[in-house]
Symmetry: C2
């Protein structure tokens, strides 16, 4: 077999505000790969099926000298994100052609891997679409599951507020809160997303672009738990209506990723109301919750006890646009790039 | 005995920024009291000896419709704060003339109390100056003691940063941290205060008015614990050098009390570094730590194992000036008003 195309998406330039497709990231369809004849050194070749587009990717588009919990992308090298691939050639005894793997994938159509380290073999007895292993059954769902169990200390009848409620993290949090018998206030940025949130069982839902978060919370608070995916104004509003002893679970601050931090005025509430503000990155909780998560969540998704929503864009060349849409909240649901059919 | 003067300090006007002596608060020496002939209804008359001047008093100078953890002062009525008084008349079987009580005292020379509720009888076997029961052996010391035990999860060799290190809270935190074997970075706003901090055993001390907090922390961090008494810029700097899993103990934000909240830019660190930010008000921890605190701390102060520093101003008429000095950090040490000799 002759070499075939192995297109990729390269990190080209550090953005100042929002990433610009074609400038921040560049699609490059020139590379080729000769799958049959290349040397794997006992490794395997993975064909990329799905790539996950997540808010935190913006944080990797930074100067490499700024430290953070994940390395900066390198100029001139492909992006990477969580993905699902299928093994198309294996010289590794533990893997066979057709096996599906979940892990960090580079943004290219095929990748040679020397080792299975860091990957998870997806058995998928529930026959979920593979893309779901990037959302509800993947890193975002696990973020919600681990963070909720570790920090919520929830009790039946308490009130939780969830921002970005239609995203894969927020929608899982809402459903976990519903299973725990909480009163759920949740918001998102479009009517369609708000309807999805309503379908998950949230009690009070609103579009934060057309309704004042502060006014809703003044009426529906005080809050025992705030699950924060956005930071900025919503965090400020949540602080202002916090109950004594409330838990603030700080999961994301997307309002600050592209336009810088917004001033938060109500931090004194942390003191006045004995708040506990827990921030976390999911990989630091994985050892504790991974087995439990994969034991429970795919099953519950398969039986329909947990719902999910996703938006699949076709084509590796769409990665740049998808990242921008995700940063702007223009996507309707969990964004996934379908790179190829099996 | 004829009626005698019973001067008081009245809350007169809500301040916009810093409180103004004579305007925000007014000293009124017209009232009188007839201690022998008044009716106590089974209560007692307390002569005010010492009144505590604390940063949180600024928070009580607010419009009453704004809720908080302590009631707003009422226009036209005397201030109140922690104080120590001596019983000069008692119709209560449990109290005798000469007993010393600690509790919330109104800012007047004598007060009639119907009930002992809320007061603590000071036995003072250690023969500490009574004023110390307003500082190291009082609410501020207890704030440090309870907050440190509840939230620090400290381990020998870890690094803690303490702001307002010369105050009664900060200086107690430094000493508790020293007893736990931590590396202590601490600051204050004058050379005299810095020397006091050094004498407590802090490892790295600096005057934040002449030395950049950010630069010191860049060099001496990362921080496992930040004890925050000031908020604003120092909180921002501490966030920027936090270690993964650090505890931020939010005790006060005096930088914001008079001039409003300053923007905090580094809140994303709460997420990136899995921080846990605990805010607290000491009265919510008193049930848990009061016995322990009064069992240990006065003894340790008496034996010189814990040190304290205080600044005593003479005269009830000084309350307004003392509150302003305290808000501006112009006092050298824990500020106490000596209202009268025994």
């Amino acid at each position: 077999m002759a070499p075939i195309r192995n297109a990729r998406v390269v990190f080209n330039e550090i953005p100042r505000t929002y990433p610009e497709p074609g400038k921040t990231t560049v699609y490059d369809d020139k590379p080729t790969i000769d799958i049959e004849n290349l040397k794997t050194d006992g490794g395997f070749v993975l064909k990329t099926l799905f790539l996950s587009i997540d808010p935190y990717l913006r944080g990797r588009m930074r100067p490499p000298e700024i430290p953070s919990y994940v390395p900066a992308f390198k100029i001139g090298e492909p992006l990477e994100s969580h993905g699902v691939g299928v093994v198309v050639r294996s010289d590794n005894q533990g893997l066979k052609v057709g096996d599906h793997l979940y892990g960090m994938l580079t943004h290219e159509e095929y990748t040679i891997h020397r080792s299975f380290d860091g990957f998870r073999l997806l058995v998928n007895e529930e026959r979920l679409p593979w893309s779901v292993y990037l959302g509800a059954a993947g890193m975002p769902g696990k973020t919600a599951y681990a963070g909720w169990r570790e920090y919520s200390r929830c009790q039946r009848g308490q009130t939780v507020f969830v921002t970005a409620g239609a995203g894969p993290v927020g929608s899982m949090v809402i459903q976990l809160a519903r299973l725990s018998g909480l009163k759920i206030i949740a918001c998102a940025g479009s009517e369609e997303k708000v309807e999805f949130i309503r379908s998950l069982g949230a009690d009070v839902v609103f579009n934060y672009k057309t309704t004042s978060t502060q006014e809703v919370l003044n009426k529906e608070g005080p809050l025992d738990i705030y699950w924060d995916n956005v930071g900025g104004e919503a965090l400020d509003a949540a602080l202002s209506v916090s109950a004594v002893g409330a838990r603030f679970i700080e999961c994301g601050m997307i309002s600050t990723y592209n336009e810088g931090p917004k001033p938060v005025h109500n931090l004194m509430q942390v003191i006045s109301n004995n708040l506990c503000m827990h921030g976390f990155i999911v990989f630091r909780l994985e050892r504790q919750y991974d087995n439990d998560f994969y034991w429970n969540v795919p099953q519950m998704l398969g039986r329909g006890e947990l719902k999910y929503s996703e938006e699949v864009w076709r084509g590796l060349e769409k990665v740049g646009d998808a990242i921008l849409a995700n940063q702007k909240g223009m996507n309707r649901a969990k964004l996934v790039i379908k790179v190829a059919d099996e």
